[in-house]
């Protein structure tokens, strides 16, 4: 029974991993598209190993020692886990579509999947514990009501957010290495770079936008992009090692 549960948890976790590979907000079909890559230059930083000896359940889910996820440089020299979003430029009259379905944040193998994610205001974030050991989720939003709840076993806790905020840090205090970042926006124009370092923001009405790329270690960069009609514009970012 327990083995089955664990296997299912692993499968669920992998599924979530796959989904996290390239995730962006839902947008209305049509409209302008901004796409691009986030490149990385300089020496690839070495991420510290995580000591999971204390949590056999989590440790068993890895064949090689897990590492921190602060900086993930992809094989093609791009940077993963960069949150790219439209910072400003939408007309005041813009009506965002209702969010479609929940976003899942999975805690599996004592790490958050995905590590960086976005939700819309009012959209449900399903916080899932696939490990079956105690995790707590502490979200210290400044514009959103902070919360700090625990999940002692396999369970899912839904949460919604009321105000735009980039970014809300999430952490688990039982496992000091576990952290994630959540961006909350009133519209679906955000994207997180995945294993190929690319992002795509679709369905934009015509206009001139300031878009921002946010990385947890390397900070933010801005770009201005003008979209007319349903064209695709490219805007790349480059973060340098510090």
């Amino acid at each position: 029974m327990r083995t089955l549960g664990m296997a299912m948890a692993v499968i669920a976790g992998l599924a979530a991993l796959g989904a996290a590979g390239h995730w962006s907000g839902d947008a209305a079909p049509g409209g302008g598209v901004i796409t691009g890559k986030v490149k990385f230059t300089g020496a690839k930083p070495v991420m510290a190993k995580i000591d999971m000896t204390d949590e056999a359940t989590c440790k068993a889910k890895y064949t090689t020692p897990p590492t921190q996820e602060t900086v993930i440089v992809n094989a093609n020299g791009t940077l993963a886990n960069v949150f790219v979003y439209v910072k400003s430029g939408l007309p005041a009259s813009y009506q965002a579509p209702a969010p479609s379905g929940p976003v899942v944040l999975d805690q599996n193998g004592c790490r958050y999947h995905p590590h960086v994610l976005g939700v819309m205001v009012g959209q449900t974030l399903e916080i899932k514990n696939s490990d079956g050991i105690l995790h707590n989720i502490k979200a210290m939003g400044k514009k959103n009501r902070p919360f700090n709840v625990s999940q002692p076993n396999v369970t899912t806790t839904p949460r919604t957010f009321t105000a735009p905020e980039v970014m809300i840090p999430l952490e688990c205090n039982v496992h000091g290495w576990m952290n994630a970042y959540l961006g909350v926006l009133p519209y679906p124009f955000f994207s997180v770079t995945g294993t190929d370092g690319s992002f795509k923001i679709a369905g934009l009405p015509p206009g001139t936008y300031t878009i921002e790329a946010w990385h947890e270690k390397y900070g933010v960069q801005e770009a201005t992009v003008t979209v007319t009609g349903s064209e695709t514009k490219t805007s790349d970012f480059t973060f340098a090692a510090k």
């Binding site: 105690l134 707590n136 502490k138 210290m140 902070p146 919360f147 700090n148 709840v149 625990s150 002692p152 076993n153 369970t155 806790t157």
Partner: protein
């Protein structure tokens, strides 16, 4: 004041035509206020008990759905399984309700109000309206505290001792509003206690009937009087601390915030400076009432009345200088620890005196085992265990091991449940006829006593074993520790005993409620007691005495050789008894 000439005795016993709301709801009559406190605090006792049952469920059956747990919201127990954050709310609120809203008002709110004027021969409290305000403040405080369980994020969750900085930081505890409501409720309760205390103190000092000299006061009144002084001086310190905590939570002050130079231990010092007198607030009135009941049940004068009085005063005095014994391992200066250890060892002495004097009272008595006497004897038997187990933690090196374990939990429950609550069961039964004019059922009372005694010991005695093994307090799931796993059967056993202990309290509740309507009508003095209150009709009328009684002797003249009866009421004049001086000054 040199003279009270020309002041007639005030009689209120004429026809009572106050409207219902003034008579029973917004009453200024000390007896009604006492009864209001009784109902309210019994309700909170039930709340505290229900919280305890949930704690025991989680410890006995970790991570299993609790029966009825599905009724609780997702934020407390999804699918009936208690969440860790709800668990720590449970332990916090169980302690808070039991200490501040059940035991303390049951002892002080109920019996100081009800007994002080009746036993001293006064027509009411010195300040009846302040007395009423005290009750309503306490009720409001209780409701605020109760409401905190239902706010988003839930109730306070830093333990009933509310150690800062956990309690001061919503981000670290996970509860914002609940923590604030705790502070607000405690500040209100402090106000209520101070108002009550100043009333009790003034009444005892200035309103004793002629002849009721200090050393003719019953020990219950002595205890309540000293308790009132403790409450008067201790509660403001708690209020001050709660205000600082509230400010830390709301307006950004830094009293307990080490990052800005505040001190985490400051809270502990303030809390326990209040907290240790508080511990005696929770036991002294019980000791006093037990003395009354034991003398009555033994049909003998209390053994060593004066040393009993001095023991109460001694405890109250020493109670102010022992607070550091809660902080031996807190990082406080170890030399200070030595000092507190010595004072703590010394405070055991007056408790020992009292115990031996109770035994002395029973020695060569003619014991009557009515229900109050059974509870009083049960009190002595259980208080001894609680008192003796205190010596283990007073010894600083031993405290290193048993501090914050179930040994402490066992100790506090032996004192508060085995002590105070047994005394209260006795006291409720004893003064029930004077409150409601009827007697509680004797047979069911005895059944309740024996079952409670049995399950109580089965519940709390094994906790000593857990504590010796190192079972920490306030942990959600002991089974995750290798060294505690072997003890899980004991936890299981304790939980089942606790459920049964809770269940048998239904006997008491039913006995209490049914007797209100169907109990046997009580005579004026059903226990053949010497106290002044038994010279009044049942229930005692508003204003108590038409004619202020005269007191001719102490309260424990049982089996007096000059009388045929084995009791001699304080107000009964024997040939040769001189008239009290104050009474003649009154010019009657």
């Amino acid at each position: 004041m040199t003279t009270v000439a020309g002041t007639p005795g005030v009689g209120h016993t004429h026809h009572d035509d106050r409207p219902f709301i003034r008579k029973y709801i917004f009453s200024t009559d000390h007896k009604i206020i006492g009864i209001q406190f009784l109902f309210v605090s019994l309700f909170f006792l039930l709340v505290g008990g229900l919280l305890a049952m949930q704690i025991r469920w989680q410890l006995g059956f970790p991570n299993q759905p609790m029966p009825g747990g599905k009724l609780l919201p997702e934020t407390m127990a999804p699918d009936g399984v208690i969440l860790p954050e709800y668990y720590i709310q449970l332990v916090t609120m169980h302690g808070t309700f039991m200490v501040f809203f059940a035991i303390m008002p049951l002892l002080v709110g109920v019996y100081a109000n009800f007994l002080i004027p009746l036993k001293l021969g006064a027509h009411d409290m010195a300040f009846p309206r302040i007395n009423m305000a005290s009750f309503w403040a306490a009720l409001l405080a209780g409701l605020v505290m109760l409401s905190s369980l239902f706010v988003p994020e839930g109730a306070a969750r830093a333990g009933w001792t509310m150690y800062a900085p956990l309690s001061a930081r919503p981000d670290l505890s996970g509860a914002g509003l609940g923590q604030q409501l705790w502070c607000v409720a405690i500040i209100l309760l402090g106000l209520s206690s101070i108002l009550g205390s100043l009333n009790y103190i003034t009444t005892v000092i200035n309103m004793r009937a002629p002849g009721m000299t200090w050393f003719r006061m019953p020990l219950s009144i002595w205890a309540l009087f000293i308790t009132a002084i403790l409450g008067l001086l201790a509660l403001p310190v708690l209020s001050g601390a709660a205000i600082m905590l509230l400010f830390d939570q709301t307006i950004g002050t830094h009293f307990f915030d080490p990052a800005a130079g505040g001190q985490a231990l400051l809270w502990q010092h303030l809390f326990w400076f209040f907290g240790h007198p508080e511990v005696y607030i929770l036991i002294l009135p019980a000791m006093g009432m037990v003395s009354d009941m034991i003398a009555n049940g033994s049909r003998k004068p209390i053994f060593g009345y004066h040393s009993m009085v001095f023991a109460i005063i001694g405890i109250a005095f020493l109670g102010w200088i022992v607070w550091g014994h809660h902080m031996f391992v807190s990082g406080m200066n170890p030399t200070l620890g030595s000092t507190f250890m010595v004072t703590t060892m010394i405070i055991a002495v007056p408790s020992a005196i009292k115990t031996f004097n109770w035994l002395g009272t029973m020695w060569r008595g003619n014991l009557r085992f009515h229900v109050p006497m059974m509870h009083a004897v049960g009190f002595v038997a259980m208080f001894v265990i609680g008192g003796l187990s205190g010596i283990f933690m007073a010894a600083t090196p031993v405290d290193m091991h048993i501090h914050d374990t179930y040994f402490i939990v066992a100790h506090i429950h032996y004192v508060l449940f085995g002590g105070s609550l047994f005394a209260l069961f006795g006291a409720i039964t004893f003064w029930y006829p004077k409150m409601f004019g009827r007697l509680m059922h004797e047979g069911w009372g005895k059944v309740h006593f024996w079952l409670t005694m049995l399950f109580y010991n089965l519940t709390f005695f094994p906790m000593h074993i857990l504590g010796m093994a190192g079972h920490m307090r306030r942990i959600y799931d002991p089974t995750m520790y290798d060294f505690l796993k072997p003890y899980q059967p004991l936890n299981h056993f304790i939980s089942i005993s606790a459920f049964l202990l809770f269940a048998v309290q239904a006997i008491f509740a039913l006995n209490f409620i049914i007797s209100l309507f169907r109990g046997a009508k009580a005579s004026m003095n059903p226990w053949q007691d010497n106290g002044l209150e038994w010279t009044l009709p049942n229930p005692a009328p508003h204003g108590n005495w038409a004619e202020v009684p005269r007191v001719y002797r102490g309260p424990y003249e049982y089996s007096h050789p000059d009388t045929t009866e084995d009791f001699l009421p304080q107000s009964q004049k024997l040939p040769g008894d001189p008239e009290p001086a104050a009474a003649s000054a009154a010019g009657h």
